[in-house]
Symmetry: C2
Subunit: 384 residues, 2 copies
C-alpha cells in the first residue's frame, strides 16, 4: 500500500513509519519539525537526542533495507500537502500532524492560536487533499480519549443512540474536553464528520489514551531509531514522566488528589491499532470511531506501580502530591468502552511489572541526561 | 452601556447598532467589509445600494442625533480587536463578524478555508480579548439553528440531559450541520464552551433561524439606513429571495420537495432578542443558549404564503421546484423548543399577510434594480 504518514517525525509518527515500512508498504513520512521547535523553545527537549528525519531513515535503511521517503514541510500549507497527495496517491493517510501538548496549548494567546490554527487547518487540508486528489483513500486520524472529558455516563465508542421524549436518533458521543489542545481534536471530529457525510470520504478516527514506552520491534535495532521520549511537564505523557522521575531520584509529581482516571496503552499497541485499522478500512461515507487504550488507571495507581517496580530494581521512589495546575476533576466516574479494536484482533500488551522494569532499565542507561528542571509544572490552566 | 458590535455593517449588525444607539447606549460598530467584498466577487450585490458604514452613521446622526462610532478592520487580527477591547471597555459585545453564507462556504477550497479561518479566528480572538481586557463583559454570540441540523428528536435550547445505562449527565445538544458555514458555528460553540467553563466568561449563544425583513424603527427613517438586502442564492435568505422573485415575476425556486422546515423570525424580533439578552446577562462561567425564531415553516409553505400575498396586490406568482443544490433532508421531523426568549419577554411579530404585503410593496419600489441572474442556485453541495 501507499502509506502517507503526516507528523512522521513524532513520538507516534516515526515508529508508525518504520512499522509500515517493515511490513513492506511504500511509506512517505512528512513533518515540519514543529514539535521539535516547540520543545526547544519551551526547554522541553527529549531525554535522548533524535537524529533528523532524513538521518533516521538512512539509519533504518542501513539496518533493515527498508526505505522510507521523507518530505519536510507544513501540512497546514495546502499547496504543499495537495501536491504530495496528487503525486504519492496515498491509499492510507495516517494523520498525526498536530500540536500534541495540552499544557502547551494553555500557555498564552500565541500558543493557543498556533494550536488552533495548526491543528484545524491541517485536518481541513487533509480532507481537501483527499477530496481533490485521493477520494478513495482511507484517512486514519488520531483523536484522543480526552475529547470525551470525564462524563458521568459510560463512554461509548464515538457514537451514542439517544432516546428523548419517545423518539430516537444517533449522534456523535458528547464531547467536552479539558484543554484547548483536546478541544481542537473535538473540532477536528466535527469537521471530519461534516466532510465524511457530505462527500462520502472514508475515515477512522481513533480516540487514543496516553501512550507510554519507547521500544518497538523496529526502534530496538538502534538507539538512533528511538522515538522522541519526552519526560517534561509539557510534552511528556504522565507515565513516561513518572519513569524518568523515578530514575532521577525525584518524587513522582501527582497532580492534586491523583484520582484522575484515563485509558492508557503501550506504544507497540498503538502500532497494532493503526495497522489493524489500515488493513480493514471503513466504507465510503463512514466515520468509524474506535476508543484506543488497553486498560485504565488513576494517576495515583500509575505512581504506585512505578514505585513498586522501582523498588524491585533498587530505586527508592517517593510520591508527592502537588497543586494541580490543570482544571480537571480529581475524582470522577470513568467507564469507557473498548471493543472495536479488540474485535479487529488487537492483542493487548498490558502494563506489567516486567514492562515497567524494562522501561526503567532502559531509562537508567540515559540517567545522566535527565534535566530535573523540566519536571515541575510550568503551565497553569487558571488565570489569576 | 458600552456596546461593541462586531460585523456592524451586516444585515443584522447595522440594525443592531442603530437599535442600541436609539436606546441611548454608547455603540462602536466594527467591520472589515468582508461580506460586501464577497458579495461583489460573487456578483451577489444587494437590492439597494448601502452607503458605507461611516456614511450610514452620519446619516443616522443627522436623522436622530444619535452617534455610532465606527472602526474599519479585521476582527480575525488579534492586535486590532484587542486594542479596541482595551480602549472601548465593552460591557456587551454582539458578535456577528462571520462569513454568513452556507452556499459561499461550499464553493471551493478557498471559500471554505476563508470561512473556517475567518469565523473560528474571530470567535477565538473575541474570547481572548475578553480574557485579557474585559473579563466581566457579556458576549452575545450569533449562532444558528442550523447547528442542530434536523435530528429525529425534539430540539432543546442548547443543552440536553442524557440518561444512559442508568446514569445521567447534561451536555451540549448534539450538533450536526448541513454546510461548512453552519459547521463553523458548531465549532464556535465548542470553543466558546471550553473558554467559558475554564475561565468563567459569560456568554449568550443565540441559535437563530433565517431572518426576513428590512424595515425597523430606525431603518424606516431613510432608505439610506436600510440593512443590506440580499436576494441572491448565496447571501439572500430564503424568504427575502422569494419576495424579490415574486416582484420580479420569476417563479419562486423551491429546492427539491420543499419540505425542509426551519424556524424563522422577523428582523425586528432579532433586535428585540439581542436587547433582551443584553439587559439580563448570564452569570460568570455560564454559557446561556437560546433558540431564536418565532415560528416554523416548510420552504413550500413559505412559497405558498408569498404567492397568496402577491395575489392580493396583483402579482401572479408561480412556484417552481428545482433540483436541490444542497445536501439536506427534504422531509424530516422538526420540533425545536422556543421558550427562553419568551420568558425574557419577547413579543413575537409573526409572518402575517400584512407583513408579507408590506415587504412586497417596499420591494416593488426597487423593482427596476432586480437582477434575475442572481436568483438561480450557482453552488452545489455535491462534487460530481
Amino acid at each position: 500500500m501507499q502509506v502517507l504518514i503526516l507528523g512522521g517525525d513524532g513520538y507516534l509518527g516515526w515508529p508508525t513509519a518504520m512499522h509500515f515500512a517493515a511490513a513492506g508498504h511504500n511509506v512517505l513520512a512528512v513533518d515540519n519539525y514543529a514539535r521539535r521547535n516547540l520543545a526547544r523553545a519551551t526547554r522541553s527537549e527529549p531525554l535522548i537526542d533524535n537524529p533528523n528525519l532524513h538521518d533516521r531513515c538512512e539509519l533504518y535503511r542501513a539496518q533493515t533495507n527498508h526505505g522510507i521517503e521523507v518530505r519536510i514541510g507544513d501540512c497546514a500549507d495546502y499547496r504543499f500537502l495537495a501536491a504530495i497527495a496528487a503525486e504519492f496517491q496515498p491509499q492510507v493517510i495516517v494523520h498525526y500532524a498536530e500540536q500534541p501538548s495540552a499544557p502547551y496549548s494553555m500557555i498564552d494567546f500565541e500558543a493557543a492560536r498556533f494550536t488552533l490554527n495548526n491543528n484545524l487547518n491541517t485536518t481541513f487540508n487533509v480532507l481537501w487533499a483527499m477530496l481533490e486528489h485521493a477520494p478513495d483513500c482511507h484517512l486514519i486520524k488520531l483523536g484522543t480519549m480526552g475529547e470525551y472529558g470525564t462524563p458521568n455516563i459510560d463512554i461509548e465508542e464515538g457514537w451514542l443512540e439517544i432516546e428523548h421524549r419517545g423518539r430516537k436518533d444517533k449522534f456523535l458521543f458528547p464531547r467536552q474536553a479539558g484543554s484547548l489542545y483536546h478541544t481542537t481534536k473535538v473540532l477536528d471530529t466535527d469537521l471530519i464528520w461534516f466532510y465524511v457525510r457530505t462527500y462520502g470520504l472514508r475515515v477512522t478516527d481513533l480516540m487514543q489514551g496516553p501512550v507510554y514506552g519507547l521500544i518497538t520491534d523496529q526502534s530496538r535495532l538502534d538507539p538512533g531509531l528511538y522515538p522522541n521520549f519526552h519526560y517534561d511537564d509539557i510534552f511528556g505523557t504522565v507515565l513516561n514522566r513518572f519513569l524518568v522521575q523515578a530514575v532521577a531520584g525525584v518524587p513522582l509529581t501527582v497532580y492534586g488528589e491523583g484520582g484522575q482516571t484515563r485509558g492508557y496503552l503501550n506504544l507497540i499497541d498503538t502500532l497494532q491499532c493503526i495497522e489493524l485499522a489500515a488493513s480493514s478500512p471503513p466504507g465510503k461515507g463512514e466515520l468509524r470511531i474506535f476508543n484506543q487504550f488497553t486498560e485504565t488507571f488513576s494517576v495515583l495507581e500509575l505512581a504506585d506501580r512505578v514505585k513498586d517496580a522501582g523498588r524491585d530494581i533498587g530505586l527508592d521512589v517517593a510520591i508527592k502530591r502537588i497543586d494541580n495546575p490543570r482544571k480537571e476533576m480529581e475524582q470522577h466516574y470513568y467507564n469507557p468502552s473498548f471493543t472495536g479494536l479488540k474485535q479487529l484482533g488487537l492483542k493487548s500488551h498490558l502494563l506489567t511489572e516486567d514492562v515497567l522494569v524494562g522501561m526503567l532499565s532502559e531509562i537508567m542507561r540515559h540517567k545522566d541526561k535527565v534535566d530535573i528542571r523540566k519536571i515541575m509544572p510550568r503551565v497553569a490552566w487558571r488565570q489569576n
